[in-house]
């Protein structure tokens, strides 16, 4: 066995060690196999029968509960209609060349009222970012100040283009849960990400302080169209409470050889949010 083959075998061993505990292969194999046969026989009988009554059809067919994907996207849609508080922590797990110190988590605490297009978040207990009426206000950062020496203003005003709830960009994945330098975190991006998710399935019950609900696993993949082509993946669980609201998100984001962990909790639904734009004389637009 040569070194290359040896290396591949080791890689495959490592790549298959993290089996999720929720997977249960033997579950219901026999019942599902028999159910398939039974359904086939029933359909055959119905087609041969002279008359199939509506009552029979109702009896034979089950009223399907909303799919897992529908549950998750409905929950994400509800977030766009009510105010909430969010705590988000983003941790760099692994990146080529990143020393351990760079892996410290970044926590953002924010309050948002999507219906009124306002929100505010504090990054790492320090910098404050405001969202007001389609604009985002960021404290003037070092790089900007260096290119604009002597600038008296304190805030940079940037336009936030209306986002599609169905189009997901690599920036949406990269910025989820924290400031990444690509674009500031906006919890509304969560809606678009969850709507584009696939492999959504309910994996078990979920609960938190004052709420109970269900946990759903999901994956999102975004491929950049421009060079260098990249594949950005997001895989995790989202918890939805019994009122159909997103309560928690735990996900791992992978971009090439960089892996980050994102944890978000949502609560205080209906909270009063009061945010105003900074004074115009303290604001500069690039």
């Amino acid at each position: 066995m040569n070194d290359t083959e040896d290396a591949v075998r080791r890689l495959f061993t490592v790549a298959t060690q993290d089996i999720p505990p929720s997977i249960n292969l033997g579950h219901d194999i026999r019942a599902r196999s028999r159910a398939r046969v039974l359904r086939a026989r029933v359909l055959l009988s119905a087609s041969l029968a002279a008359v199939v009554t509506a009552a029979t059809v109702i009896t034979l067919s089950a009223v399907s509960p909303p799919s897992a994907l529908a549950q998750v996207t409905q929950a994400a849609t509800r977030m766009a209609a009510q105010s909430y508080r969010v705590t988000s922590t983003r941790t760099l797990v692994r990146a080529p060349g990143a020393p351990t110190a760079d892996k410290n988590p970044v926590t953002i605490i924010g309050e948002f009222d999507p219906a009124r297009s306002i929100g505010e978040e504090t990054v790492g207990g320090g910098a404050q970012i405001r969202y007001v009426g389609g604009y985002i206000y960021i404290p003037v950062f070092g790089a900007f100040r260096r290119t604009h020496p002597g600038l008296p203003q304190k805030w940079v005003k940037l336009h936030v283009p209306p986002r599609s709830s169905t189009t997901v960009t690599p920036g949406d994945v990269a910025s989820l849960g924290g400031i990444t330098g690509v674009q500031p975190f906006n919890p509304q991006d969560l809606l678009a990400l969850l709507k584009s998710a696939d492999h959504v399935r309910e994996v078990g019950p979920a609960s938190g302080p004052g709420w109970k609900g269900s946990a759903y696993s999901f994956t999102v993949t975004v491929r950049t169209s421009a060079q260098p082509h990249q594949v950005m993946g997001l895989h995790g669980t989202v918890d939805v409470d019994q009122q159909g609201r997103v309560r928690r998100l735990d996900a791992v984001e992978s971009v090439e050889n960089t892996v980050s962990k994102v944890q978000m909790t949502f609560g205080n639904f209906g909270i009063g949010v009061s945010v105003s734009a900074p004074p115009a004389d303290e604001t500069v637009s690039p």
């Binding site: 790549a15 196999s33 994956t219 895989h235 992978s254 892996v259």
Partner: protein
């Protein structure tokens, strides 16, 4: 001689217990995602269960299931029923760096595999995860052993290019500090 119908379910259950995880690991390398892998293996097990009473006692269920999985995966891929998503698995336990690093590596490797053309990926997985000989892989995929060799050669090269330094991963039972030192070329 056919299998005794009286203990069909027992034998099948025992087979799933003994070999299910092995096929699940192969499936996740094919699909790139644990839940798609679960789908693939369960769908294949349902088909195997229905054929189980007809299998001759000398038949090897692994080979039978493998064929079902490969054919099912191929039909899903062609029909786009299952979009293969290179994904990362959320850390089960984020309290130790070793676990986080291992899961990060898992994600990267599966992602790199998922970028390969389907046939190259299938050959690498069947050769180096399922440890099948080239002749058997050729029969499963409906191609010649020569084609299997070509796919393996190209797939290994593409995987090496994709993973870069991570390709030469040290054995997983090597202490973490020395693994890192090895990777950093110390």
């Amino acid at each position: 001689m056919r299998r005794d119908s009286g203990d069909t379910d027992e034998r099948f259950a025992a087979y799933v217990r003994d070999r299910g995880e092995h096929h699940l690991r192969v499936a996740v390398l094919l699909t790139g995602d644990w839940h798609a892998a679960e789908d693939l293996v369960q769908t294949s097990l349902i088909k195997l269960y229905r054929a189980w009473p007809r299998l001759e006692t000398t038949a090897e269920p692994d080979a039978y299931l493998r064929r079902i999985m490969i054919n099912t995966h191929r039909s899903w891929w062609r029909a786009h029923w299952r979009r293969e998503t290179p994904t990362a698995t959320p850390p089960e336990d984020s309290t130790t760096d070793d676990i986080a690093e291992r899961q990060a590596i898992s994600a990267v490797v599966r992602q790199a595999l998922a970028k390969l053309p389907r046939q190259q990926r299938a050959v690498l997985v069947l050769r180096y995860a399922a440890d099948l000989p080239e002749a058997e892989i050729a029969e499963l995929l409906g191609c010649s052993p020569g084609t299997v060799k070509t796919h393996a050669h190209r797939g290994l090269r593409a995987l090496r290019d994709s993973l870069g330094d991570d390709f030469a991963l040290q054995p997983v039972n090597q202490p973490r500090a020395s693994r890192r030192a090895s990777r950093e070329g110390a």
